[in-house]
């Protein structure tokens, strides 16, 4: 157990009441704006003091309201990458990078520093002034600056939110690489599903200042009870696969545990393990084997759970081989098809339902690399 948070705070009319226990790897804190995500990580960083509760990291108590412990930010060794970079405008890029190193007990060696700068692709920027950097470059420098202070834990507050899609796709690989190279555990705040697919090992969902669901990202996203919480547009399970071919017609084939998917061409070699999100609303169910369909992606699946709510739609959990799927169909369709738990069905999805942004390369156990 690395980070253990249980805090309560009242900020005007807003009440924060969050419990968080992280394991190794990246924990994504997910929720709409105003759900308390930033308040939570500000408290972990020591930038704010909660009214009640306790924050402990490994064997160190960072905050305990009862015994009056409040370790100041600068002694916590918790790195923080802010949404808007917050680089020091009066310093150059390399001075920004080295700002934290002088306070670190064991700063990185010259070789490690060079390796870090290389990984982040910021070597050419070192002598630039901050105002001459693009948004994406600023975030990469901010990440490097945080890492060079040798933090034990890294907090990221929607570091890509201020960037356009192209810039996001440019930076995400750096975050993934960092993760793969054994960087510090991360708490990553976002409301962007594509970042979750690519980075999350665990997820904590916040709503109105409360932590409502937590667990491995696979479990949380595959649970039909969470569809409303995640958002009906965004909900969808993660599946694992291996790229088995790139076709001349612009499609890539991915082998799943129980079938094949054909998706728009992805930029990873044959044999690469991938993890992808299949949105519940893109999955169509059929009780008989569908023929003469335009879709090439048909998977045999078994219904494991049917979650009816108050709205007109129903969330259905499916198992296909060792993977789980979620489907969202109308209440009327459920009644007409007479679907039941345990029933065998065919799940159909369009090739375009899995865009490249919903696919990430992965290594063992869904750890993104």
């Amino acid at each position: 157990m690395s980070l253990n948070v249980d805090i309560q705070s009242k900020l005007g009319a807003f009440e924060l009441d969050v419990q968080l226990r992280t394991k190794a790897g990246t924990t994504v804190v997910f929720g709409r704006s105003g759900s308390g995500k930033t308040s939570l990580i500000n408290a972990i960083a020591g930038l704010t003091t909660p009214d009640q509760g306790r924050i402990a990291f490994r064997d160190t108590v960072l905050f305990d309201a009862q015994s009056g412990v409040h370790v100041p930010s600068h002694q916590r060794r918790i790195g923080y990458v802010f949404q808007n970079a917050r680089l020091f405008p009066h310093l150059s890029v390399s001075q920004n990078l080295d700002f934290g190193a002088r306070f670190a007990k064991e700063p990185l060696s010259v070789a490690e520093r060079r390796q870090m700068i290389d990984t982040l692709g910021i070597e050419a920027l070192l002598n630039r002034r901050i105002a001459a950097l693009s948004g994406g470059e600023q975030q990469r420098v901010a990440l490097g600056r945080a890492l060079l202070s040798v933090p034990r834990l890294l907090l990221m507050d929607e570091p890509l939110a201020a960037l356009d899609t192209a810039r996001k796709q440019e930076i995400l690989p750096y975050f993934e690489r960092l993760h793969a190279q054994g960087g510090p555990p991360m708490i990553y705040v976002t409301h962007d599903m594509s970042e979750i697919v690519r980075l999350a090992d665990n997820i904590l969902v916040l709503r109105d200042g409360r932590s409502v669901v937590g667990g491995t990202v696979e479990d949380v996203l595959a649970d039909p009870a969470n569809v409303k919480l995640i958002g009906v547009q965004d909900a969808g399970a993660l599946v694992q696969g291996i790229i088995s071919g790139h076709e001349a017609d612009g499609l890539s084939t991915i082998d799943l545990s129980a079938g094949q998917l054909h998706v728009p061409k992805i930029g990873a070699p044959v044999g690469a393990k991938v993890r992808m999100r299949i949105r519940a609303q893109d999955v169509i169910l059929s009780v008989s084997e569908p023929k003469d369909l335009s879709s090439q992606n048909i998977l045999r699946a078994r219904i494991t759970e049917i979650q009816t709510g108050e709205g007109p739609s129903v969330a259905i959990a499916l198992r296909t081989g060792s993977d789980r799927l979620l489907a969202r169909i109308t209440r009327r369709a459920l009644a007409q098809m007479q679907l039941e738990v345990g029933q065998e069905v065919w799940a159909v999805l369009k090739a375009n339902a899995v865009p490249p942004s919903a696919i990430a390369r992965s290594e063992n156990n869904g750890v993104v690399a």
Binding site: S73, H74, R86, L87, P89, H90, F103, R145, A146, S149
Partner: protein, 229 residues
């Protein structure tokens, strides 16, 4: 060109204004920081006391200095007895008067600068391991440089031009407390002194323009740097 007497007056004026500004600056920074960033009991009172010299008639401030820092004054007496420092009718007294009069201007400029510093940058520095004093030294202070320069120039200009409080507190003794403004005033009181006064007036205009020009160049450079350019 300039006579020895005129040169001496300019030199003394510069000496007084420089001492006043240099000694005041750290106190002005500390006061500005307190007023900009801290909440404490008596803060409105401190604010008023700091600004008093700005609104009081200078002659009142000068008289107050005479009462407090004169040889028989409570503070002046102690300083003389224990430290051997005399303010009354000395150039140091002129510097004290000039400093007190310039102080509120310095505090105001620096306070505005500190209030304009993005607290988010200070938070970022703290998460990078910088203690509060390190944050102040490495982030807040450099970002306040333009305001610091502006405050220093204002304080220096005020000190160079100070007249009312100075003449009340330390009079106008040639070679000791006679600054440019008091020398000009003295000359204007004498019949036929206008020509000599005009020379000093032009001189003080030249010194002022030079100081402004230098500060403008420095301020631009600092503003560019702070903006990350």
């Amino acid at each position: 060109m300039l006579s020895a007497a005129e040169l001496a007056i300019v030199a003394l004026s510069l000496q007084i204004a420089l001492l006043a500004t240099v000694v005041c600056l750290p106190f002005a920074i500390a006061t500005a920081w307190l007023l900009a960033r801290k909440k404490f009991y008596g803060k409105p009172l401190l604010n008023i006391v700091v600004h008093l010299p700005l609104v009081l008639p200078p002659v009142v401030t000068g008289y107050a200095l005479l009462i407090l820092f004169g040889k028989q004054g409570p503070i002046g007496g102690m300083l003389e007895t224990f430290l051997g420092i005399t303010f009354a009718f000395r150039w140091t007294g002129a510097a004290l008067a000039a400093g007190i009069m310039g102080f509120p201007l310095m505090v105001r400029a620096i306070r505005l600068g500190i209030e304009a510093v993005d607290k988010g940058l200070e938070d970022a520095a703290a998460t990078l391991g910088a203690s509060r004093s390190a944050v102040f030294l490495h982030v807040t202070l450099p970002l306040v440089t333009p305001a610091l320069l502006a405050g220093t120039v204002l304080g220096f200009a005020k000190a160079m031009g100070e007249f009312g409080a100075t003449i009340t507190f330390v009079a106008s003794i040639p070679g000791q407390t006679e600054t440019l403004p008091s020398a000009i005033y003295t000359l204007l009181q004498v019949p036929g002194g206008e020509d000599a006064a005009l020379r000093l007036i032009l001189l003080s205009v030249a010194v002022s323009i030079l100081a402004l020009a230098v500060s403008e160049v420095l301020a631009r450079r600092a503003a560019r740097k702070v903006a990350g350019l």
